[in-house]
């Protein structure tokens, strides 16, 4: 039971990453590698701020801020510097490693004995692991609602149009470069938030905690899409969160099968690769049909 609650809690906290990456990967339609740097940067900034006596709420907001700054740099390199997005992201990700070491002063910083968002009296009064479920739900609700509102505004529609058809967007007077920079900033701000939440939940920040992050974020997006199929934009946002939780269950099962935590990155990559190849399998074996039949007989 505890394992299930923990998986849901982790899924909710990590869903912020999936939602952040959704903005660039699905809406702007490009892979943004910056996230591998912004996630530990958000964690580093948040943990350092807390250990300097700043309140956890402010520390979390600072993490959002540094994430947005990293996104701004990638955006400027990409749009104004004309560096291909993949390389621009890798450059910022690489630079972020050094910056993160500077922020923390060392490779690993603990929050032992320090206050965090999870140490409020209400969250501590809950049964074990329910703190991350409750806080995760609150955070996801806030982020999702803000995104739903944003995407239905004139600015949000221009943002979607930029990713959907850039030539058209420009011919309608949409400043597509600004849209891309904005998207990268908001996206990386959310990744920074994810880093802040996960580090406070773990109780430490580590300079290497960004490795493989993009795969985890992609997994929530892809699993959500594979599991729920054709959806409207708002439903797709919710599907990312559900995908993130499902992904945690997959990991839970895999660990139960006897793999250990060191295998996680390999397993994550395999899970993601399988999910992304699903359309190919589906064509070959009519997979969804078989799956549906299998599920129906279970009920």
């Amino acid at each position: 039971m505890n394992l299930v609650v923990s998986a849901i809690g982790q899924g909710l906290l990590w869903a912020v990453l999936g939602l952040g990456l959704f903005l660039t990967f699905r809406i702007l339609d490009f892979p943004d590698m910056t996230v591998e740097g912004t996630f530990p940067m958000g964690a580093a900034a948040c943990v350092s701020a807390i250990s300097h006596g700043i309140s956890p709420i402010w520390a979390t907001l600072i993490a959002v801020g540094v994430g947005m700054l990293a996104g701004l740099v990638t955006g400027l390199l990409y749009t104004k510097g004309r560096i291909p997005i993949l390389l621009a992201g890798i450059l910022v990700m690489t630079a972020a490693y050094s910056i993160n070491l500077r922020i923390m002063g060392r490779a690993n910083l603990s929050l032992l004995g320090k206050s965090t968002l999870f140490k409020t009296r209400f969250l501590q009064s809950l049964p074990p692991y329910f703190d991350s479920v409750v806080l995760g739900m609150v955070m996801i609700a806030i982020v999702t609602l803000l995104l739903v509102y944003f995407l239905q505004t004139d600015l949000g529609q221009s943002f979607i149009a930029t990713g959907d058809n850039e030539v058209m967007a420009r011919s309608l007077g949409i400043h597509t470069d600004n849209m891309k920079i904005m998207g990268l900033m908001v996206s990386n701000g959310m990744i920074g938030l994810g880093g802040a939440l996960v580090s406070q939940n773990n109780g430490y920040s580590d300079v290497n905690m960004g490795i493989g992050i993009i795969v985890i974020a992609l997994a929530s997006i892809i699993i959500g899409e594979v599991a729920f199929g054709e959806l409207t934009m708002n439903q797709r946002l919710v599907a990312v969160t559900l995908g993130s939780i499902l992904y945690r269950f997959v990991l839970l099962i895999v660990l139960k099968l006897g793999f250990n935590a060191n295998d996680l990155n390999l397993l994550s990559a395999i899970v993601l690769a399988l999910c992304m190849m699903l359309p190919v399998f589906q064509k070959k074996f009519n997979f969804r049909h078989i799956l549906k039949r299998g599920l129906d007989t279970n009920e």
């Binding site: 004139d154 058809n165 967007a169």
Partner: protein
């Protein structure tokens, strides 16, 4: 009527500048477009028709010369900022619409062409009735598919939508780049007729590239021929009315 709205003076566009392969696409081209002109543009491949549109539209920097709108120099105005007074329809149906957004969403984007966009609710519901009425003028079932992603429309419906989007907010200059070329003959003719209707009723100023001599003669009040980056033929009014396909053919064979 002869009130100049758009002027191109001595416009030069080169590709591969400062390399041995330098080619001049627009060669000191001069063109004055009057308010209310509906100009059809003919020219063989490589004559510079699309380059001319890109220069006017601003997605191509010109190397020499000046472009002005109502005596205001717009040579260095960005593509995005020119959309305040200019709209265009592309030849490729895929270029004119956002495939994952619905017909209505696309129209709403076009309704705010050239305006700055803020964090204000988009207000799609209030527009739906107007959009239904507008799309029904196309007589191709577009009005029944307002909530369909444009990626699921036929090419003809997409181009009709692109055309509506370009004219929804009245442009000072409308550029049509062979917008019916990718369609089957019947759909192409329908869209061309609808285009002509709308341009005439709204009294739009329009430049239209076409490969159909027939269309070039039938529509518009002025016809120009582009050859090697220059305008080699320019007729309007009664003179254009008197023009026949045979005369145009002989003209083309003269220059080749």
């Amino acid at each position: 009527m002869s009130n100049p709205i758009l002027k191109l003076d001595n416009v030069v566009v080169n590709v591969n500048q400062n390399t041995p392969e330098q080619i001049t696409i627009l060669n000191h081209l001069n063109l004055t477009v009057n308010d209310g002109d509906f100009i059809t543009i003919l020219g063989s491949n490589g004559a510079g028709k699309s380059t001319l549109f890109n220069a006017i539209g601003g997605n191509l920097k010109i190397d020499e010369g000046q472009i002005s709108l109502r005596d205001k120099n717009i040579t260095h105005l960005s593509e995005e900022n020119r959309t305040r007074f200019l709209s265009r329809v592309f030849q490729d149906p895929k270029l004119g619409t956002a495939p994952r957004m619905t017909v209505a969403e696309n129209l709403l984007l076009a309704k705010k062409r050239g305006e700055s966009r803020h964090l204000t609710p988009r207000g799609l519901k209030q527009q739906m009735a107007g959009f239904a009425k507008l799309t029904s003028t196309m007589n191709n079932g577009l009005d029944e598919r307002l909530n369909t992603p444009t990626g699921n429309l036929s090419g003809g419906q997409r181009q009709a939508l692109s055309f509506l989007m370009a004219t929804l907010k009245r442009p000072d200059i409308l550029l049509l780049d062979e917008h019916t070329a990718a369609l089957d003959p019947k759909t192409s003719q329908q869209l061309m007729a609808a285009t002509n209707d709308r341009i005439n009723t709204e009294k739009l100023t329009c430049l239209m590239i076409t490969h159909h001599l027939e269309d070039a003669l039938k529509y518009g009040n002025r016809l120009i021929v582009l050859q090697d980056g220059q305008i080699t033929y320019d007729v309007s009014g009664a003179e254009k009315e008197a023009l026949t396909q045979e005369k145009l053919y002989s003209f083309f064979s003269d220059i080749e």
